[in-house]
Symmetry: C2
Subunit: 188 residues, 2 copies
Amino acid sequence: MTITAAGVGSTTREAIAASARELFEERGFAATSVRAIAAGAGVDAALVMRHFGSKEQLFVEVVGASRGAGPELDGPLETLGRRLVEHVLDPERDRERRAYAAMVRASDHDGVRESLRQAARASFIDGLCALLPGPDASARAELIAAQIGGLMQAWPTVGVELLDTVGRQRVVELYGAAIQALVDSPTG
Amino acid sequence: MTITAAGVGSTTREAIAASARELFEERGFAATSVRAIAAGAGVDAALVMRHFGSKEQLFVEVVGASRGAGPELDGPLETLGRRLVEHVLDPERDRERRAYAAMVRASDHDGVRESLRQAARASFIDGLCALLPGPDASARAELIAAQIGGLMQAWPTVGVELLDTVGRQRVVELYGAAIQALVDSPTG
DNA sequence: GGGTGAGTGTCAACGGCGTTGACTGCGTCG
DNA sequence: CGACGCAGTCAACGCCGTTGACACTCACCC
């Protein structure tokens, strides 16, 4: 069949992808079996392999959506730190945050780790690097990415606690200032 | 044999632990099989289970060594950020960094994730929290831990590149300042 | 209209995995 | 001596990801 006209592919392929996305984000990579994904889509496990090649490739394809550099980079440099944190902690971005956490946790597998690194580069580091002033912009962009990654990874565990004790706004303020320290490049 | 004389436990138990530590840190959790660990120690896989309960428990026990709060917290508050980064990037601490990375990657498994969280709390966050001034010291300690975690996670991938381009000292300077921003608690 | 070949799907099986339970030695204690 | 517990092995279980053979449909072409 493969309707290439309007861009939609086969329906069952999408069903598999949807089932996989749901299970992966809910239970993680290791705890999700190909057979469970197939059952969720109402097909045989072998069909999953035929469509996506391997469990790892399926994971990378449905969870590691390479959303391009968002609008969070636009705006004055002086408030970039705050904006980045605000973007990362945006409640509506919960799904993306859990997807990122799922990828980090699954990065025990080489393919996932590599894909994670590439996605971070393409969707964030490169854009950020172009924005930063100074000669070591690239290094600072990497370090900012490390900060953001640390926050995204920690949030599912400590986020609710922090929201209770100090509130989102204070977290944005604090962590935003910490990131801003790298944006502003201390002359040391 | 079971030499109980000098307080040392059974030799084979240690052999299993040593084999496991080596394989886990070299290949990661997922790529290391219980059978391979057992073969490395010259015993049967079932014995590994009898001694350590499960692969996950074995991993937590040998990789997640709960090294207590180190001396990196001692010293003046004004240079705490730099000292933390220096400690984390210490070339001699390579083994610990890889162990941490291995744990993060294996945190797809609930027990590992929980143990990781507890280890971070016990060996770092609590001690740090006691040091920080200000009312929201606990929250800042958590956020600093997130920064440190981000750096440790990113280092195996981007570390060598950063060493080449800007050098360790500049990284310590930059990331140290970013952490210091949370130590010093902007009044916002 | 009947072959042909590609796409879609199922089924049974493979080897490897973590884990378990039954079993064998063996040193120790009563 | 007999009971007991510990170290260790062995064979098996059920699940896993993955594969190859097979069936069906349907467009296409002579």
